[in-house]
């Protein structure tokens, strides 16, 4: 009985260490990478960047060039036509 308990304790400890040393470590490092790349300062930085780019865009006379405007116009019209054609 005693030997069984010791072996169980030892195997339990080994499983714990091996799990956290392999899978646990990999999961933790990915979780850490995701969480750290989504931190508040970075998100705020990118939101502000988008805001400032939009503001810059509004200051210009034209945002798109003529060719792109025509292309986008035709694309939107086509999509609208298809959306209306539900039958």
């Amino acid at each position: 009985m005693k030997i069984f308990v010791y072996k169980a304790l030892f195997i339990g400890l080994m499983i714990f260490v091996v799990f956290y040393g392999t899978f646990g470590y990999v999961i933790k490092s990915y979780e850490s990478k995701i969480q750290n790349s989504l931190n508040k300062d970075k998100l705020n930085f990118f939101i502000n960047k988008i805001r400032s780019e939009l503001k810059e865009g509004l200051k210009k006379d034209r945002i798109l060039n003529k060719e792109d405007s025509v292309l986008l116009n035709q694309f939107i019209k086509k999509i609208t036509r298809e959306l209306n054609d539900t039958n």
């Binding site: 010791y6 260490v17 040393g21 470590y25 490092s29 979780e31 850490s32 931190n39 930085f45």
Partner: protein, 549 residues
């Protein structure tokens, strides 16, 4: 006879010299980043306890003190969010402050620093007693005392860090009583041990690992001796006393509702500072890499201590691995599977404790910050294994006087180098790095996490500016709180503008941030400021001052 007398009493000489050194330099230290918060915790709990009494005159004084704290430091982290600190040290100190009517900021902070220093000396002496009782060797015990008190980061914190260093000391007291219990398993010793277990838990929740390791130890003992009744009785008495002492001295527990009991551990995992700068990158404090703690320990502990620690740890592990492999299926009366003496049982208990801390660290997302000061209590285990290693070497070369002398003199030389480092870093030993990291790479780590440099920097600015001075802060440090250690006559000259740099004459930064400064520019130094002064010790940049052009 006289040599024995000298060896036996050398510790008192060392204590005396250390006290002289400490009391002479105590005023060189500034104020720690958490000291105002800790002081407020003391008054918060004193106020809570006084509400159960009729001592209205004291309650009134405490309320006045709390109002004064709220107006002087309005930006302190709310106590209600981290209400579990402050009972062991801050509450008695708050009581002393009230009873003796100590109202000058410099005086009440000095009393706190002196008290903390005296407690640390008693802690180091307790470590000496543990080592002496365990190894019966005066040299190892005296050396243990010296490395305990003169470990650079610990020495730099014993005057003002009444949370993490205090926890290290309480752990030391606790383990001393554990040793006493293992030597003589009386109810008296078990009571003392349970009392200090309770004090440990209320100081830092991680202290709960000690009672767990003790119960596990009794379980291991039971497997060898089959003394069912005796072991159950020990665990029963221990749990009852431990719970009783924990409840009686920790008012935080009195305030908990049932849902809070069900969620008991979650409040302890919140982080005060969400961002941590480590190895040149910013991390969220809950998502630090696993290498965080080992890296900090390796970079900030003297190299010879690290070598002896690893060897000592290997020796102890090796011994128990051998015992494990030789376990017999039947029990022999008076013989235990994992230890051959009470001293070996003590080593095992220390090892179990240490392993549990490591398992907790690798399995739970602990919110760490401010270097590794939350784990300063590990220094006890570190130094215990160091002493074990030294003792092993002495035993190995028992008959070789020359080799023993070489070891002794080498240790004394290494210790002297450590003392020179302490002198060089003074009073910023809490920012110590060993020589394994180059001076440039030190900038990739948080340095002045205790914000000790505030007082130094303000005095520096005042030296060159006699009129009214407006000072901004480009770091997470509440600079204005440092006034508490500066003469009140000088307060009129100081005006703090925080991160509003428009009106500032100077900007102070200890390069300790709560945001990712690559993306958040709130601490960016404006272009109309130039670098006026950098203060470094041993190539480690402590703080910078910028002046308006």
């Amino acid at each position: 006879m006289s040599y024995f007398f000298f060896k036996k009493n050398l510790i008192y000489l060392l204590l005396f010299i250390t006290s002289i050194i400490g009391f002479n330099i105590i005023n060189d230290y500034g104020i720690g980043i958490e000291e105002h918060f800790q002081r407020k915790s003391g008054f918060y709990w004193l106020n809570y306890i006084l509400n159960f009494t009729n001592l209205d005159f004291l309650s009134l004084r405490v309320s006045e003190k709390l109002n004064e704290i709220n107006s002087f430091t309005p930006n302190l982290f709310p106590i209600e969010k981290v209400p579990y600190y402050g009972v062991i040290f801050d509450l008695p100190l708050a009581f002393i402050e009230i009873i003796f009517e100590i109202n000058q900021p410099q005086n009440y902070f000095r009393i706190r620093h002196i008290t903390m220093f005296v407690i640390s000396l008693i802690g180091a002496f307790t470590f000496y007693k543990i080592i002496l009782n365990r190894f019966n060797d005066f040299f190892v015990a005296n050396f243990g005392f010296l490395i305990f008190i003169f470990l650079p980061r610990i020495f730099g914190s014993i005057f003002f860090d009444n949370k993490d260093t205090l926890f290290l000391i309480i752990v030391t007291f606790n383990i001393y009583f554990l040793f006493n219990y293992l030597k003589n398993s009386s109810i008296k010793n078990l009571t003392f041990f349970s009392l200090f277990c309770a004090l440990c838990v209320s100081t830092r929740i991680i202290g709960i690992l000690i009672p767990f390791s003790f119960i596990f130890f009794i379980f291991l003992k039971h497997l060898s001796d089959d003394k069912y009744k005796e072991n159950i009785k020990t665990i029963f008495i221990f749990v009852i006393f431990f719970t009783f002492f924990l409840f009686i001295h920790w008012p935080y527990l009195w305030t908990l509702s049932l849902p809070e009991w069900l969620n008991f551990f979650s409040p302890f995992f919140q982080a005060m500072n969400p961002t941590v700068y480590f190895n040149g990158e910013f991390y969220q404090s809950k998502y630090l890499p696993l290498s965080y703690l080992p890296t900090w320990i390796i970079l900030t502990t003297p190299v010879f201590i690290l070598i002896l620690f690893f060897y000592g740890l290997f020796l102890i592990c090796n011994r128990f691995a051998n015992n494990f492999l030789n376990v017999e299926s039947f029990n022999t009366p008076g013989k235990y599977d994992f230890w051959n003496s009470k001293k070996e049982a003590f080593d095992l208990m220390i090892l179990i404790n240490f392993v549990l801390v490591i398992l907790l660290y690798i399995s739970v997302d602990l919110a760490l910050l401010s270097g590794w000061r939350h784990f300063y209590f590990l220094n006890f285990y570190l130094l215990y294994f160091v002493c074990f290693c030294i003792f092993f070497l002495f035993e190995k070369f028992k008959r070789d006087n020359l080799k023993q002398k070489i070891i002794k003199y080498s240790l004394i030389i290494f210790l002297s180098i450590q003392l020179v480092d302490i002198y060089q870093y003074h009073p910023f030993q809490s920012s110590y790095f060993n020589n394994s990291i180059s001076k440039n790479k030190r900038e990739k780590f948080e340095i002045d996490t205790q914000s000790l440099s505030r007082m130094h920097a303000i005095k520096e600015i005042l030296k060159f500016n006699n009129g009214k001075t407006l000072i901004g802060t480009a770091s997470w440090t509440p600079l204005e709180d440092a006034r508490s250690m500066i003469n009140q006559d000088l307060w009129k000259k100081l005006n703090f503008t925080g991160t509003n740099f428009k009106n500032a004459d100077f900007i102070y930064s200890n390069h300790y941030y709560d945001v990712d400064t690559n993306f958040n520019k709130k601490y960016q130094i404006p272009e109309n400021f130039y670098l006026y002064k950098i203060f470094s010790v041993d190539g480690t940049k402590i703080y910078s001052i910028y002046k308006k052009k």
